[in-house]
Assembly symmetry: none
Homo-oligomer: 150 residues x 4
């Protein structure tokens, strides 16, 4: 019986599963947002939170009252960097600090300030979250709370 | 006497002197969104809904599952046109259709497709809503439902 | 036995298949390109051919010898319009011709010249092809040959 | 007599009048790509490879499956830097590391990350290759394999 199921599975994996990739739905994005926003509110931090799909296109964005307007584009840029390069913006931040320079800043869409995190599912990138409004370390804490809520 | 004047001044500074403008809070934007999204869901229309502040900066954006990615920038552009020009994008659409030309298309940030509406409070512009994803007439119906929910 | 398989399938569809979407691989894009290029060569038409993924990011681009350099960005723009709006650029061309105006030109990323086609799989958008270099009608013929080769 | 003059003119047009520059054809670019891609596949490295003409315009671009989407623009930027400045991006990388600063980053189109190489023929620049997707040193190895295949 077990081998029968395996055979069925094998057939499915070719004929039904086909060539597909997981994706982030609006419901997923809302769950990520709620988790991030809950952390932000608990700490009393007002921020912009942006959640992008795997192509770098916005699925959800909210700007809390009183946050600097510049944070809208910063949150989007951090999220874009995270999904474009499949890594936290903190990785670029650390590399740029270590070098003491701006070599990485010459790469299109790379952001070297903490607060952007990629979102993976089954090892495949499906989107990202970007946060801006408080210190970059605090932005990073909120972004992490978002990913953990996924 | 001096203290009496101070008290009078204090009252004025809040009620009369107070030079303020009304603004759209995130809570307001969420109410506008919920009202617009309720109409969209009731009709079975999947769309992107964007809500901007009085400076044209996004407060809230959500993209429902399956909507064409082009609608993200279109919803933002419609909303931007509405708040930048304090009028519905339908006004530009009608004018462009009447002229049969592209004169208005040369105005920076003007969009000539229905689906963007300004949001006023006490006669003052405080933001806008932009919708994209179905026909422009349907986008307009959703946008109107949003403004009515405010 | 049939019902057992159906149950197995149902379980798979929730637990294994999960929330996924089809995508365009480089091998797919090469097949689309070869089919389009074969048509172009048979007609003696030199063009740029661009193939994008579902997020509008290039997977494959080739510029044949002697084609005007402007066609590189035009092919990319046509393909971007097709995948961003899930429709051929010919649809915008026809609408703009019918109106005799440029209302649609105010929509970000919309291109109103034939030669861009979306690519669907199982009803889901997975990418697009854009062609530029000869007349827009000829560009469209090449693009169609590409999609048919998929 | 007239035919004699024509012959003389014909000779001039090739030997004396002929003011030409060598250029990179699509067939050349495909050879460069194949050589670079063969090295990448041999190492198991998935990358984006972009090949530009002497004006910095793309002739060929391919993105292998699963490569971060940010690598599309990075590969193009590296190749652009290489052809715009007639030198490997590694030269800027070394200079920026040596200075520990961002002076060179203020030069338009300069990229300070290895992986972009100019392509010369008879001492004349005819194009470039840019690679992105693995480490910058590995990107450089692939780019070199491409140039060597020319």
């Amino acid at each position: 019986m077990k081998s029968l199921l395996l055979i069925v599975f094998s057939l499915f994996s070719f004929s039904v599963l086909g060539q597909t990739k997981p994706y982030l739905s609006l419901a997923d994005a809302e769950r990520v947002y709620e988790s991030a926003a809950a952390k932000a509110k608990a700490e009393g931090w007002n921020v912009v939170i942006a959640i992008l799909d795997d192509g770098g296109h916005p699925i959800l964005l909210k700007k809390m009252d009183g946050v600097q307007i510049g944070s809208v584009e910063v949150a989007l840029a951090k999220a874009k960097s995270a999904v474009f390069f499949k890594r936290p913006t903190k990785v670029f931040e650390d590399a740029m600090k270590a070098e003491g320079g701006s070599r990485i800043a010459t790469l299109p869409n790379a952001v070297g300030v903490e607060g952007g995190l990629p979102i993976f599912k089954d090892g495949v990138i499906i989107g990202s979250i970007g946060v801006s409004g408080v210190t970059s370390a605090q932005d990073g804490i909120i972004a992490l709370a978002g990913v953990e809520g996924f």
